[in-house]
Symmetry: C2
Subunit: 343 residues, 2 copies
């Protein structure tokens, strides 16, 4: 029974830094691509046996220290009343633009409406059999709201920001519904067996610090407060959010995940050393050469040793073009003890 | 003769905060769209009379405090030996991936190879006749190199980062060529009549602080040192670079442009109050309502008053969907004197 990851989350003693990889069940793995030949992305999400199968693939292949449910942060939008397709990026229809659109959104009971998520978790807990803890996940309220308003990926976030600045009351109503939905959705994941929860705030980084404080942080806090009583470690990961670290101090999780932009020692200092840190190797390093991977990974380890705790990860999801041999080189580098001068 | 902008760049007394708008000559203007009906984007770039015409449009319509040459940061890649088309995003062919590709790149004399840029500047200086100063611009070396390696816009920058991490010697050779090319290209703009130069580092923000220090900053410094003797104000604008401000202190310009992510007072403090600041209203604010535009603009002004100097601008280029009436509301708000309590 490996609980290295959970112990690290809780700042308990660990014999080495645990490692898992964002998007570890994904297209860089031949065994994943093989499953995807038979099943589209949506089918994979909604078929517990298949979702469990691909979740396990990287855990079995690499012996990673945590499994993360194969799913998508947008799963809760369908029970809210918005259709979701992937082509290949997500398309949400209809986009939520007006007050009436927001009022029409449902605040669902997820166990009734997306039972496949919870069934996947139950299967995985049986099949993992203690080999590695299982992480559940979902979006942060602002990120879910941004997708609902934009209807798809975007660079400028015109529609959601137009709402934040031009009709803040409607934005707050939307964020309130998103926060309640996500609190229920994630709490049910814990009750089905998820042993930690990661909250992805993929788009928080497009907000100014002031807008984050008004529209993102309070709703995130509602979710983390709702989950706190469940007793599992909580992780918050906001991409490209270096300018928000002073606000993130109040996010209410145990662990903060970081992209590659700042060294972990600097991030920890801006977070007042209140969090275990997770990260933060640039995923593009895995596209270089094994010597560089090993060197850069050891620098991340040395930086992580200056935080209250460290879980090794990439700074963003692993890229589909990553060679598997480079993942092996990374895992080797993280598991070898640090040389004396860097520790 | 309005030299408000130039005086602000030089920290000389100004009677009010000057304002210009990134991408002010662009698709949000009906008179620009009309020119584009007759001429494709590349034709517009390369036809001095047309480039001058669209450059003047927003200066005439709004009485802005600076004109910025209508051009594209990728103009120098063609004389380097790489073809450039827009469809609608830029496509560079062939992409520069190997050592041999980098060695093959030319380091051109821009006045011979892109004479249209300099002719546009000469026409504009005559036609502006002192109504507003003319800003020239180009890319920073890292951003130019990133485009050369990727060959197009990208989210992950796999190829250029693969080179930085996996073959740094080749990356340094490429950056050296980019820095020499850009130094010549921008110096020639000043000699043709540009009265200030803005250096756009559109992609610097994807680099870690460590990678920025190794691969971006030293080459940027070569360009700013080469331009320093020309005696015109220099502006550095890196998008999404909040994590790099401590490094940017050494960039060697008079003015630093900022996106909307941090309040100007905080950015100025991280820059040790060494720079006049330019920015930083979120362009999406212009998609909301006039009351919000006015309120947010005044907050930016109040923040800017805490820096050593302030030039009002957006935090990124104006969006094509921006209503012209909202631009007018913005300019009004910036030109009305600040109420007592905010000054």
């Amino acid at each position: 029974m490996s609980d290295l990851f959970l112990r690290a989350c809780r700042r308990q003693p660990v014999e080495r830094v645990p490692i898992w990889i964002m998007r570890q069940a994904g297209r860089y793995l031949a065994e994943y691509r093989k499953v995807r030949e038979k099943a589209g992305f949506s089918t994979l999400l909604k078929t517990p046996e298949l979702a469990a199968e691909v979740t396990l693939q990287p855990v079995i292949r690499f012996g990673l220290d945590a499994a993360i449910l194969f799913s998508d942060i947008l799963v809760p939008v369908e029970p809210m009343g918005v259709s979701l397709t992937f082509s290949p990026g997500p398309v949400l229809e209809p986009a939520v633009r007006s007050r009436a659109d927001v009022e029409r959104l449902r605040v669902p009971e997820p166990e009734e409406t997306v039972p496949f998520v919870y069934e996947s978790i139950r299967i995985l807990r049986r099949e993992l059999a203690g080999r590695a803890p299982l992480i559940g996940f979902g979006a942060a309220p602002f990120t879910l709201a941004a997708y609902l308003v934009e209807g798809k990926g975007t660079r400028d976030f015109e529609h959601v920001k137009g709402m934040l600045y031009g009709d803040p009351a409607t934005a707050h109503l939307l964020l309130d519904k998103a926060a309640t939905t996500l609190s229920r959705y994630l709490r049910a994941q814990v009750r089905a067996g998820a042993q930690a929860i990661q909250i992805f705030d993929s788009w928080a980084g497009v907000l100014s610090r002031k807008a984050y404080r008004e529209f993102a942080l309070p709703y995130l806090q509602r979710v983390t407060e709702a989950l706190r009583a469940e007793g599992v470690p909580l992780i918050y990961f906001a991409l490209d959010a270096s300018h928000l670290l002073e606000e993130i101090r109040a996010c209410g999780t145990d662990v903060v995940g970081l992209d590659w932009r700042l060294p972990l020692s600097e991030a920890s200092s801006r977070l007042e050393h209140r969090f275990v840190l997770q990260g933060n190797l640039d995923p593009c390093v895995l596209l270089s050469i094994p010597e560089a991977i090993s060197r850069e990974a050891r620098m991340v380890l040395a930086e992580g040793a200056r935080a209250p705790g460290h879980i090794f990860n990439l700074g963003h999801g692993i890229l589909p073009s990553t060679p598997v041999a480079h993942v092996e080189a990374l895992i080797d580098a993280v598991r070898r003890p640090l040389p004396q001068e860097a520790s």
